[in-house]
């Protein structure tokens, strides 16, 4: 077994030496495809994570005609939680609303002096559970809340949630498209590379067949070639992505949108899965090409 492995790797080395130009081209193309795919995937995962963070602050505000007397509160709470479990429910009186606005305005709070505390409507703030992220579900919940006794209208930053939803959908499509591009580019390049190796080594393969080389002796080095292509390409692609990530972190951090995102790189498990999938893709591509082009 030890000897066999030694010869497989020796033969792989020879293959790579003989067709290094093609190998480099394949390596470059597959690395770029992996970089493009992982870039969009990283942006997508960070946006989703940011969405989660923003979602934690999502609340539905039910504006009321009149304040809810303390005796009625348990009843209203029950009515709300009967429809959907929530994180918390906060009853905001006219005075509390006025106080909050005053705090928000800070030094410019003087403008409120002439208005008096009663001009703002009382409200109920409903913080939904974290699993209620779907826009349709939020809308349905919002519609339900308008049926509460004394409810004037319900607000939850609908425009922002909608835009965020569309953006993540768009990113999801881009991730799928770049994933498709990665699969196609890898399959084509690996197949092309194996085909060229087979053509370049035609004479050698004939001699190998004549001296009785086992199928494994001829095929295994080509499979190892595919494995190495996958390993190196994903390593290079992810390495480049990590450099881009570090650069972004260093140069674009500070107060601003990206700071708000608090971007993070893939966890080791995701990195491992991406590498594993790339290796599988390249080795599988080699196997298909070997079966297609190699006559043993």
């Amino acid at each position: 077994m030890g000897h066999e492995t030694y010869f497989y790797f020796k033969q792989t080395g020879r293959n790579l030496q003989q067709s290094w130009g093609t190998q480099l081209m394949t390596l470059f193309t597959v690395s770029m495809s992996i970089l493009i795919f992982t870039f969009f995937f990283l942006v997508y995962t960070n946006i989703i994570k940011a969405g989660d963070r923003f979602g934690d602050e999502l609340r539905l505000i039910v504006y009321l005609d009149d304040e809810v007397v303390p005796e009625m509160r348990p009843q209203i709470k029950k009515k709300i939680t009967d429809y959907s479990p929530v994180e918390k429910i906060v009853f905001v009186s006219r005075d509390e609303a006025f106080h909050r606005l005053n705090v928000q305005l800070g030094q410019e709070g003087d403008v409120l002096n002439d208005l008096g505390a009663g001009f703002l409507p009382p409200s109920i703030e409903v913080f939904p559970k974290k699993d209620l992220k779907n826009l349709t579900l939020i809308k349905q919940f919002s519609d339900y809340l308008t049926t509460l006794p004394g409810a004037q209208k319900v607000q939850f930053g609908q425009g922002w949630v909608e835009r965020f939803g569309y953006f993540t959908e768009l990113l999801r499509v881009i991730v799928f498209l770049s994933g498709g591009l990665l699969v196609m580019a890898t399959a084509f390049m690996v197949s092309y590379s194996i085909r060229l190796t087979v053509i370049e080594k035609e004479a050698e393969l004939e001699v190998l067949r004549l001296v009785g080389a086992r199928s494994s002796y001829i095929q295994t080095p080509l499979l190892i070639e595919g494995f190495l292509q996958g390993l190196l390409s994903s390593g290079i692609g992810l390495g480049m992505l990590y450099l881009i990530f570090l650069w972004t972190k260093t140069h674009l951090s500070g107060p601003g949108f990206l700071h708000l995102l608090d971007i993070t790189f893939f966890p080791p498990v995701t990195t491992g899965i991406i590498m594993g999938m790339s290796i599988l893709l390249c080795t599988g591509g080699s196997l298909v090409s070997i079966r297609k082009y190699l006559r043993i």
Binding site: H3, E4, A203, E206, R209, L210, V211, G212, R214, S215
Partner: protein, 246 residues
């Protein structure tokens, strides 16, 4: 497979074999031949007599249209792909057109036959050094085989066939490009291998190679056996075509 085959039975058995190339070129016609284990046999005849075809049939490069070829009791027509590969690993073939890799070194061209057997690098090196010495190619060891003369390339092909000391060696016109002295050297190598137990079939029209020696000769003429010399203790098959004893 060949090494352990009993010595009292023919290693190569050819029974009523016909080979026709498209459209209607008859290369071999209804020929039968037995080669004992450990025998050295000369297959003689002019160019186009069918010698190369017969060797190609024995090493499974071609298939007969009719008849049966058995190596160590195994019908080649029924051999699976892995078994053909195993048979080829036990058969050293020096092809008439050499089948060398011109861009690879002399060393690598010879080593390839041993590498497919996963032989240890040290053993490969030792054996190749021996062969290069016998065939006077030591100084060409690291030169691409394509840069050698025809005679040198032929010796590389012979070295590759002999590299693993295989139980069966087939040599097609092995001295076609060699001078008399080198031909003797090559013949000496084959005799040494034969003494070591290898069964050897040499296809040649070089009379100096097979004249005045103790080995059996089989003469092919237009795809049929014209003459066959005796082999002590060995009886050729009775149903063969045109077999005469001389």
């Amino acid at each position: 497979m060949l090494e352990t085959y009993p010595a009292d039975r023919p290693l190569v058995e050819i029974v009523k074999v016909t080979k026709v190339y498209s459209p209607d070129i008859v290369a071999l016609q209804n020929i039968s031949l037995s080669v004992a284990k450990g025998e050295l046999l000369f297959l003689t005849g002019r160019s186009g007599a069918g010698k190369t075809t017969l060797l190609k049939l024995i090493c499974c490069v071609e298939k007969p249209n009719k008849g049966v070829i058995e190596i160590a009791g195994k019908d080649l027509n029924k051999l699976s792909s892995p078994n053909i590969q195993a048979l080829r690993r036990e058969t050293g073939v020096a092809y008439q057109d050499f089948k060398i890799l011109p861009r690879q070194t002399v060393y690598r061209n010879i080593a390839i036959a041993m590498e497919v057997n996963y032989t240890a690098a040290k053993v490969i090196k030792k054996r190749i050094d021996e062969l290069l010495d016998v065939l006077k190619l030591t100084h060409k060891r690291n030169i691409p085989a394509g840069k050698l003369s025809r005679g040198e390339q032929q010796r590389v092909a012979i070295a590759r066939a002999a590299a693993t000391k295989p139980p069966l060696i087939l040599a097609d016109e092995p001295t076609g490009n060699l001078d008399p002295a080198m031909s003797l050297q090559v013949m000496g190598l084959f005799e040494k291998l034969n003494e070591g137990g290898s069964t050897i079939i040499i296809a040649t029209h070089d009379e100096t190679l097979y004249k005045n020696n103790r080995y059996r000769k089989v003469d092919l003429h237009y795809g049929q056996f014209a003459t066959q010399s005796t082999l002590p203790g060995f009886l050729p098959p009775a149903n063969g075509n045109q077999q005469k004893l001389i």
